[in-house]
Every structure is written in structure tokens, then in C-alpha cells.
Symmetry: C2
Subunit: 380 residues, 2 copies
């Protein structure tokens, strides 16, 4: 196969600028490597609310589902912050995840030697850190019912149900174990493990499941099911369990103790953002969201940074690295992914830095989003 | 008043040793200052399970309720880890909080100059950090119903209800605002603000409320109610809101942006543990749990460290500092609290360090729990 349908979701804020830089890189890549990406844009987020009255319109969903893969920039902005919840950009993201069945979110937090001093943690603490956070993405208190704000005995009461059933836990445990153990299996689950051979082979076989089983029933089930799946199906994976409060500490105290972490939607939301700080800048971090089958969505971990939107200050590298993940994992183009990733390292070696990764006195050259994109494209 | 009834809860692991050191300090203090602490021990945690079949027996509750204040070491241990939930040490803690109405948990994370290098974060990031995390302690997914593990359509399903009513949110917002703004009011709420005059007067008037209002209904209510209470009752407090994932990042990225944070039970559990890492060692951190009226419970933030229990390696300073909080806030003995706090700083200045706060090459003297306690008592 040498022609792929890609849906681009430029989104809000700095989204369109970084997407433009990313397209330039992908353009150079396809030219060099002789394959075709048929890229078509679709709406999500604030721009979708403005133009279609829905943060993830059905046409966007349809287009995503019939493509080979989806590349998303970022969404959100002050403008929509006081909308009712169903008309907020974030709701589009949640709708996308649920309707595309993207139950597994993979967020690597890998410290690059070139940027080691960008972290607020000491060099010896973050040097060599390479943590993969596998977050469940379509369950938990994010989607649980009943939920709402009711008036009971004259008092307002707000509630959401933190809920998981065993099949939801099983499938995310499998993805995490496959990430961790680099076990290549076929059949149903091929989709999951398809994605991470490369990542996994570098990992140490240690999987840490994070929950709050000392307090929560839902966490007790989580712990039981994860333990069952791993001991029965992945006897080589070294499984440990950690309470979420302790995990939040340990990530700062000694992050090198972790290889892969697996956790639920809300704990994963918190811990993956925390872990990203080990790397120093969100502007460098890609992510992948995948399901049992069908296209995955690849997107940077950062937000839409409305304060610098349109000023050519954004860092396009996280999106470019997300495109590399897409090439490797959804399009089966590992070589091309390597080319992109090496090009990113090369521009860093050349000393180019966007504002978010520029350190005082690092002797590097401050560049904008456009110049950074061009530099990567050139090397590619 | 010069005689106080104090309930001591030595608990498990290193609990009894650090309590012994703390009693030595309190003994020296009462001798010097001419007042009496009538201290009586009661059971909580694993030891209570072993001796009374309940992690917080009714006799312990009664004794706590009729004292002027309660000092707790720490609970838990491997021995009870596989017990059914109601027979685990943690359940005793939760029962104590709920039955004593301790809805507000105050955890100061203040970086001491003597220990600044103990943190894994860079000196310039943590120097001068003084964050107070105010965590709601008797609501949220910790206590919400319905909860359980059921079998539905042949699948096990685990669930807990993340729930707050507006009165629960109002009262914790008030405590946080009082902590922050040092507003001394009388009447109903005197109990709350009694506690924090000193702390508060040092603070900057910035209060950050942390939630996940972009996803959760319960957080939307949280945000609405906190906003109402603060704007109506505390117009001088500068209130901001932050999503919990972002807060987990910002605590590492630039902790000095925070004065006081207020949040729900589970987010507070995670963020206060994370914040404690800014200080470098849990062994230094006290906490206070208080209600509308009645005795508060003062305890270190650290756990029971069963791996070093009985080896005279534990750091008693967090408990000693918790006792200082008790003196100041529950017993109205601010001067005596100062004496204790200054004595702790003095032993650090003398260069005494327990293992947890000893740095390689810091030129300090490694001491055990007993010696550390004696040193503080001597200065007192
Ligand atoms: C925007 C928000 C709904 C979203 C989430 O909480 O999942 C974001 O924080 C993320 O991590 O992708
Ligand atoms: C032991 C556990 C139940 C407890 C909690 O989650 O509240 C602890 O982590 C704490 O923060 O005091």
C-alpha cells in the first residue's frame, strides 16, 4: 500500500500553525520516500462549534472512521470556556474518543539528552528517564452514569460515577502488557500490539498498575482484574501495584523506577501530565490513542496555547513526533518514522529552539514555528 | 486552662518510636512552661485490628472525642494488606475522619532552607516554596454511595460515587479562604479560623481551587459554589481555578505560583502527596485535620514505614512538628508551639540528620530516632 487517507484535525489556538509545519515535513517525507498521504481536514473543537454548532460533528467522525489514521493538533480557548458543557471544545475530544473506541492512550515521557536541562528536576533524577503511561481513555468517572447536578432536600448535589467493568480493565491491561513486554501476538489483539513493537523492545518488562484499591471498590476490581490478566496471559511481565498518591510522589522522587505505568482515565489524566514535566516541555511530547481496530488518533500532549496563537511562537515538534508515531504504528512505515524522529533530533543538535525549550544561556538559536518546521522538513 | 487531655494514637510500624520521641519533647516542654498534658493512648490501625478486631474501635472514638486534641503517628503494614477492606488499617483512618467530622485537612509544604537540597527539584525552583494544600476529607469518591462490586450481565462491575453537596463545598471553601486571608471572625466559624492565624498572616491572599470542571458535573458544582462563597464572603481573597491535570504539572513546573490550594478528597490526596515531594522528605511534614468544632487530629504526612520499624531509623520531626501544630491550634499555646518549632530548626542547624534527610557529603551527623528526639527535647 502506498497511498493513505489521513484526516487532519487542526483544531484551535496554535493548532493550525503547528499543523502547517507538520504538513511541510510530511510533504518532504512523501516526496523523498515515494508514497502518498491524501490529507483532508475536518473540524473539531472550538472551530467546529463556531462553524458547525458541534465540537465534533458527525461528518468529522465519519471522515475519521474511513481514513487510515488521524492527526490532531489541539483544541480549546477562552472564547468557548463559558459555554454549556456540550458546547465546549473538550466535549468534542471526549466524543471523538468514545465514538472512535479509542480506549488506550499512550503517552511516552522520554527525556532527550539535548533538553535535559529544561526540566525543573535535577539532571541526575531525569537523565535517562523513559516512562510510558498507558491511560484508559473511554471509561471511569469521565463517562460513568448516573451523573449530574440535582437538588436533593433543597441542596444542590453534584455527582459522577467512577465505574469500570472487567472487560474494560482486561483490554487496557493487555495493551499495557504488550507495550511493556513487546509480545507480538496475532488475531484480535494484533491491533493493539501492532502499535508498539519498537517502544516495547526497549522496555524492561516492569509494569506498574496504579489505583486506589485501599479506598475504592472500583480500584479493587481494577487491581484484581489486572493481576489476573497479567499473571495468566503475560507471565513474563513483572507486575507491581502502587497507590495513586504514592505514584504522584514517586514520579518526582525517583522516576527511573518506572518503565510502563497503566492506570484509569482520571488518574492517568493527572499522572501523565505530571510525568510530562519530567521532560521539561510539553512542546516535545507526542501521544497515541488507539482502539481494538480502526484508525488511531495521534496528537501532541500540549494544549492550544491561545495566548501565543498566531504569533509564530509555537513548538511544532510534538505534533511532528506524533506524525512519526502515526507513520510507525498506523501506517506501518517504521523507516519513515525513523527519518522524522532523527530529523527532530538533528534540528535540536543544530541548536534550534522554540521559546518553550529555550534556556537562558544555552547558546541556542531561538526560532519560530515556521522556521522550526522548515528546518525539520529540510533535513527530511 | 493549664491542663489538657490529649489522646495519643501511636499506631503501627515506626509509630510507637516516633511517639516516644515526641512524648519526650512534650515532657520537656510542659516542665519548662508549667502546664500539664494528660496523655492517654488509644488504639488505631493494625494494632487495633489485632487487639480489638476493629481498626478504629468505638472506645478509641469516645476517648478522642472527649479529649482536647489528638496526636496520631501513622498506621498500616504488610501484615494487614490482604485483609478484607473493613479490617484494614486505612479503614480505621477513614472511620476516624468521618466519625470525628474532620472535614478539613491542612498540609503545609514549606521548604526549609536547611533541607533545600533534599528535594529532587532544582534549588531555584523550590527555594522559598510555601504551599498550603487544603483538602476536603470526609466526602467525594471516598465516602460516596452507591458503591460496590456487582455482577451485571455476567460481568463484574466496580463503582464508587464521586459526589459533593453544596454545604460540604461551602465549608471547605471557607476554611481555605480563612487560611489564606487570615480573616478572624467569630461565632460558628471560629473553630476553623482559630487554627490558622499564624499560617495565614504569612500568605499572599491567593487561593487556587483545583477541580476537573471541564469533564465532571461534581467539579462544576464545586467550582460554582467555591466561586460564590469566596466572592460573597471573602472579596479580598484572589481566587483562581485550575484543572487537576494542569495543577499536577504546575506544582513541578513552578510551585512558587501557589499560596493556598483547595480541592476535593481524592485530588487532594494526590496533589498533597505530590506537593510534599517539593520539600524533599515526607519525614518533615506535619498535617492537621479539623472539623467545625471538637478536637482536631494532628499527624505526620508520612506512612508507617514497616521496613524500618523498630530499627531506630525513623525521623520523629514530622510528628514533633504536628505536636507544635496541635499546641498552636487546638490548645491555643502559640508560644509553646514556637518553642518546639524553633527547637526543630535548631537541631537541623546543629547538623543532626536522620537517614531520610541525610545527603551524601552534607557534612551532617547521622542520628537515630531516639537521639533526634532527645536533641529536640534538650533544646526545648
Ligand atoms: C481536555 C480534557 C477533557 C482532556 C482530558 O481530561 O482527558 C485533557 O486533559 C487530556 O488529557 O487529553
Ligand atoms: C491511607 C489512605 C486511606 C489515606 C487517604 O487516601 O486518605 C492516605 O493516603 C492519606 O492521604 O491520609
Amino acid at each position: 500500500k502506498d497511498t493513505y487517507q489521513i484526516t487532519l484535525l487542526p483544531g484551535d489556538g496554535i493548532g493550525p500553525e503547528i499543523m502547517a509545519s507538520c504538513k511541510e515535513v510530511l510533504g518532504a517525507l512523501t516526496k523523498r520516500c515515494g508514497f502518498t498521504l491524501e490529507m483532508k481536514e475536518a473540524l473539531i473543537g472550538g472551530v467546529a462549534i463556531d462553524e458547525a454548532g458541534d465540537p465534533f460533528p458527525d461528518e468529522s467522525l465519519e471522515q475519521c472512521l474511513k481514513s487510515d489514521s488521524v492527526l490532531l493538533s489541539c483544541i480549546g480557548g477562552y472564547k468557548w470556556d463559558s459555554n454549556p458543557r456540550e458546547l465546549r471544545p473538550e466535549s468534542g475530544l471526549l466524543k471523538m474518543r468514545k465514538s472512535m473506541g479509542l480506549f488506550a492512550n499512550l503517552r511516552p515521557a522520554k527525556v532527550l539528552t539535548q533538553l535535559i536541562d529544561a526540566s525543573t528536576l535535577k539532571r541526575e533524577v531525569v537523565e535517562g528517564v523513559d516512562v510510558m503511561v498507558v491511560r484508559e481513555l473511554t471509561g471511569d468517572v469521565y463517562f460513568g452514569t448516573p451523573k449530574g447536578i440535582d437538588v436533593i432536600d433543597g441542596k444542590r448535589v453534584g455527582y459522577n460515577n467512577m465505574i469500570y467493568d472487567e472487560t474494560e480493565i482486561e483490554r487496557i491491561a493487555r495493551v499495557a502488557a504488550e507495550v511493556e513486554a513487546s509480545i507480538h501476538i496475532t488475531g484480535d489483539r494484533a491491533t493493539c500490539c501492532r502499535a508498539y513493537g519498537d517502544v516495547a523492545s526497549k522496555r524492561g518488562g516492569k509494569l506498574c498498575s496504579v489505583d486506589k484499591a485501599n479506598v475504592l471498590d472500583v480500584s479493587q476490581l481494577w487491581r484484581d482484574v489486572v493481576t489476573d490478566v497479567i499473571t495468566k496471559e503475560f507471565p513474563d511481565v513483572k507486575l507491581s501495584h502502587m497507590y495513586v498518591d504514592n505514584a504522584a510522589m514517586q514520579l518526582i522522587r525517583w522516576p527511573k523506577q518506572f518503565d510502563t505505568m497503566v492506570t484509569g482515565n482520571i488518574f492517568g489524566d493527572i499522572l501523565s501530565d505530571e510525568a510530562s514535566m519530567l521532560v521539561g516541555s510539553l512542546g516535545m511530547l507526542p501521544s497515541a490513542s488507539i482502539g481494538e481496530s480502526g484508525p488511531g488518533v495521534f496528537e501532541p500532549c500540549h494544549g492550544s496555547a491561545p495566548d501565543i496563537a498566531g504569533e509564530d511562537k509555537a513548538n511544532p515538534l510534538a505534533l511532528i513526533l506524533s506524525a512519526a508515531m502515526m507513520l510507525r504504528y498506523d501506517l506501518d512505515r517504521a523507516e519513515e518514522a525513523d527519518i522524522v524522529e532523527r530529523a527532530v533530533e538533528a534540528v535540536l543538535d543544530q541548536g534550534l529552539r522554540t521559546a518553550d525549550i529555550k534556556q537562558e544561556g544555552d547558546g541556542c538559536k531561538l526560532v519560530g514555528c515556521i522556521e522550526m518546521g522548515k528546518a525539520v522538513a529540510e533535513i527530511v
